[in-house]
């Protein structure tokens, strides 16, 4: 009886799986929403510590995935600190020492301003489709919104996370949640994206929470104060000279 039931269910399962859209198409739609030719963002990073909270306000300019420039506006201690990323190189200028240093190797694994984000996390600029084989594994609802659950398994060896899971809004094609896993299957980091707003013809999350799942605490909130897409950014912004300006 059991085997007959199983046999009867298999075609149903296969049919339902066939109803899932192609994961590659979903990611492409997500990329269209999340990536722009240029982005100018003013943001607030709230780092939730065990005893206190810290707020770091910054303004960043980015062109594609290879060029970005960030200037920290507050608090007073971080004010004037600037970061320039060109391809796989990262420079930091500190006004206190009036020096520019290039971060490399082990230093890229350090946390950014004590947050749950590492410089390396910020440096990652390869497309997901270049690094992972993606497939839609389920359909779930998050905060009343229907999502596709995507499982991404590394197809190249040099990726920081062996497996990722993404929950993509089925209408807006914006990720609402992402989980990053170690090779052993241990959940390492979780990203929750919320306050999705329509900016021009794209949907964009205005709040992102990054959480190191192995660590106690509420993680780091990244809140967008202002965001502009596809505006012309002068070329000098992405030069080392702009760090000391």
């Amino acid at each position: 009886m059991k085997s007959i039931l199983t046999m009867a269910l298999i075609p149903v399962i296969i049919t339902s799986m066939l109803n899932f859209p192609d994961a590659g198409e979903i990611i492409e739609k997500v990329d269209k929403n999340m990536r722009a030719k240029t982005q100018i963002m003013e943001s607030k990073m709230i780092i939730h510590g065990k005893r206190n909270e810290r707020e770091v306000v910054s303004k960043s300019y980015s062109e594609g995935t290879s060029k970005s420039f960030t200037e920290y506006l507050s608090p007073e201690r971080e004010k004037g600190t600037k970061m320039l990323k060109l391809d796989d190189k990262l420079w930091i200028y500190s006004p206190e020492t009036d020096r520019t240093i290039q971060l490399s190797g082990h230093m890229l694994k350090q946390s950014v301003m004590g947050s749950d984000l590492s410089y390396e996390d910020m440096m990652e600029n390869r497309k997901l489709t270049e690094m992972y084989d993606a497939k839609v594994i389920a359909e779930e609802t998050i905060d009343g919104r229907k999502t596709w659950v995507l499982e991404l398994n590394a197809k190249v060896v040099d990726v920081p996370y062996h497996k990722r899971k993404m929950w993509i809004d089925q209408e807006r094609f914006v990720p609402l949640k992402e989980e990053l896993y170690a090779k052993s299957g241990q959940l390492l980091k979780k990203t929750t994206l919320s306050n999705i707003k329509q900016i021009g013809n794209r949907w964009f999350p205005m709040k992102v929470n990054y959480k190191d799942m192995l660590n106690d605490g509420k993680g780091t909130d990244y809140i967008l104060i202002d965001v502009k897409f596809d505006e012309t950014i002068p070329e000098y912004i992405f030069s080392k000279a702009s760090l000391k300006k």
């Binding site: 190797g105 694994k109 040099d158 062996h162 170690a182 090779k183 052993s184 241990q186 190191d212 605490g217």
Partner: protein, 385 residues
Amino acid sequence: MRIAFQLAYKNLMGAGLRTWLNAGVLSFAFVVMIFFNGLIDGWNQQASIDGVNWDYGNGHLLNNEYDPFDPFSIENGHGILPKDKQKDLSSVLIRAATIYPDGRMMSAQLKGIDANQTVVKIPTDLLLKSDAEIPAVIGERMANSAKLEVGDQVLVRWRDQNGTFDAANITIVGIFETNVPSVDGGQIWISIEKLWTMTGLENHVSYFIANDNYTSGNIEGWNFETQESFLAEQAKIINMKKTSGAIMYLVLLAIGLLAIFDTQVLSIFRRQKEIGTYIALGMTRFQVVRLFTAEGSMYSLFAAVLGSLYGIPLLWYFAVKGITFPISGDSVGIIMANTMYPIYGIGLVLGTILLVIISATIVSFLPARKIAKMDPVQALKGKIQ
């Protein structure tokens, strides 16, 4: 000369309390000097023994890219040494890791060591005996800072050879007690085979620990750091403490010598008639100078006797029972036992005695030189010159 010493002895004994005050101050300087230098020597010897037993072995064969003083060199500071060149060597591979005891995040070094090694005292045999998935041994400092006990499991996150994150629980199967912070603080020791599997760095080694039979040769890509160079470096750091401590006992010695100097100046001033009488009786000026110098230097002999009366039992007590310090050498990475046992070498004791006698003789001679310029007639009359 004999008469000079006999007279000096009688004069000093006649001076009574003044003599014993001078000798007392000087004897204190004596005892402190011997004690302090003995303590440093004892520390150095203990640190050398512990360093060899726990870390240095007969020296380290380091990968050229690995610098023990540069944590950033861990990532690329490893390589493969042909098996035929690994005779009398125990391998160690280091990888950076993060541990999460009770939800706290702590940086750590994951050290893979040949579990069959016997060259250092790290209890790697426990790694062989355990059935745990990833057994680990840690030092007491690490156990205290991470609040870990034997049997506890703790989550460790590391990266494999391609930089991909991996994480798993390790089981603490042993906690060892050592005075050597370089094998303890922030370190987790696991079997090197296990670490090779975890990271994919099969046969890669950061450094080898040599045993007593190892003979170093020129191996390309590897650099042999001898046991002597480790010990010399360590002795240099410890002996720096000797210099800073010298200030303390040199001040004490200076007070003692100043007291002798003052006494000598006063004696020459007040005992002019006596000086004149000596010369009138047929002593040469030089003999009188010698008498007064002998008097001054005899303080140091008295101090040596007085110092040995209370110093020997006191120093012996410290040498047997040791001295427990509330401070630790961990913060500066120096090997330092909680209880230190001073060592008083014959060279140290004789050297100290000689230093005090010579310096007491010099400070006694300086005011006594004035006698050579005295007019004996005026001196006999007791007129101030």
